[in-house]
Amino acid sequence: MRPLEHFLIQFGIRRFEKGNNEIFVQDNKYFLISRGIQNIIKKTKKPFYSGIYLGKARGKSFFPSVNLLNKIRKKARNKVWIDEKTEWLFVCGRDIFSEGIESSTKCVYKGIITLILNKNSEVLGFGKAIKGLSEKGVVIQNIFDIGDFLRRERKKK
């Protein structure tokens, strides 16, 4: 199974909705591109970036972009909603304690990868349930969060 499909299946998504777009892979980076973009790319040299960045593959692993997480938000089976205080801690790269969880879909249990959303159902990232959500202490390990945008800026400097 290809890395993108393997990533999506963890959220119960068997088919990625491309609409009228195509998936374009360049240097292990996946992009979703419109017909207009496809027409230009065919005629020009290799772009650095095009359309919607979906993420990159490294071996069998897939590292999703925020765009991809937003695209699967509605269809993803595994979702956890967190409170405002936990929201900030999570985007700072921290794991989630059971007290910070407001609600979740039924299928989030130990070992499951889940989207993390705030009270407005905005995607903040994703993580892995390391315990049952009602157990004490850290229950979800942060894998990726939108605070990464700031960390990338700092790294750059």
Binding site: T44, K45, P47, F48, Y49, S50, N70, L124, L150
Partner: protein, 270 residues
């Protein structure tokens, strides 16, 4: 070069030198949120904002106890920290949803993402930057702001003709000498020779842009320089040497509301 030299020429150009305390500004990303909704969310966090009269999606940050850049709203791509004046060139270009737009010298992407928002993610934007490191910042901002109509190339804008494309609209926010509002030691670093050198590079960029602009197409040229060599003189040179018409021109001197900026809008004659 003495500071007095520059101060005196600003006076002759009609502006009395002073050091303004410039208000921080942001641009609302209307691809993701409305201005009113963002205002309410920021207000709930104690951040006071007000409309920028001359920029339709811009807000001044009147009061904030912490950096806007460290809010969830920023990380969600609801806003971009962008000076009020630098929001004007993309607005003046006024791209349509079916345009093929060129953004030269695009990184870190403030104007690229603004163009994308003005085009409602339709059409195509070609964004160029010659420095690959700067393109990473562009990529991050395109991703954060949710833009889907951009193709970025690691190409010097001087070589744009190598893409064999013709554009309806071009934004050339040219590398320039900047101005004292961005750099405490600006007067100590700059001299007239350096400014003339930048003006020559800008002429080369203007020529490269004209060569790929469709007849009837629009070119917006902007700098954040206050120096006439990089602004008025380049406009005069461009009109003398190319089949173009000047449609609009703006000089914004530094004030509490904006850093200095110069913008000229041309049309390639048919």
């Amino acid at each position: 070069m003495e500071k007095e030299f520059f101060v005196e020429r600003y006076r002759k150009l009609g502006w009395k030198f002073y050091k303004p305390k410039i208000k921080q500004a942001i641009r609302v990303n209307t691809l993701k949120i409305s201005k009113d909704r963002l205002k309410k969310r920021l207000s709930a966090k104690g951040i006071k904002v007000s409309d920028i009269g001359f920029s339709k999606d811009g807000l001044f940050v009147e009061k904030s106890d912490f950096s806007i850049g460290s809010t969830v709203e920023y990380l969600l791509g609801y806003c971009y920290t962008q000076g009020s004046a630098s929001q004007l060139p993309a607005e003046m270009l006024n791209p349509a949803q079916d345009d093929l737009v060129l953004d030269c010298c695009a990184a870190p992407g403030g104007k690229t993402t603004q163009l994308s928002q003005l085009m409602k993610n339709k059409g195509v934007i070609i964004a160029l930057d010659k420095k690959s490191q700067r393109l990473i910042a562009l990529k991050n901002n395109i991703e954060r702001m949710g833009c889907s109509n951009v193709i970025a190339y690691n190409i010097d804008a001087l070589d744009v003709s190598s893409l064999s494309l013709k554009f309806n609209k071009i934004l050339l926010d040219a590398p320039c000498s900047g101005n004292f509002t961005q750099d405490e030691n600006w007067f100590g670093k700059r001299d007239i020779e350096g400014i003339k050198g930048n003006a020559e590079n800008q002429k080369k960029l203007l020529k490269a842009c004209f060569d790929v602009l469709m007849p009837g197409g629009i070119l917006v040229y902007s700098t954040c320089s206050l120096e006439p060599e990089e602004n008025e003189d380049n406009v005069g040179w461009f009109l003398e040497n190319f089949n173009a018409k000047l449609l609009e021109k703006k000089m914004l001197w530094p004030s509490e509301e904006s850093q200095g900026f110069f913008i000229a809008k041309f049309m390639r004659k048919k």
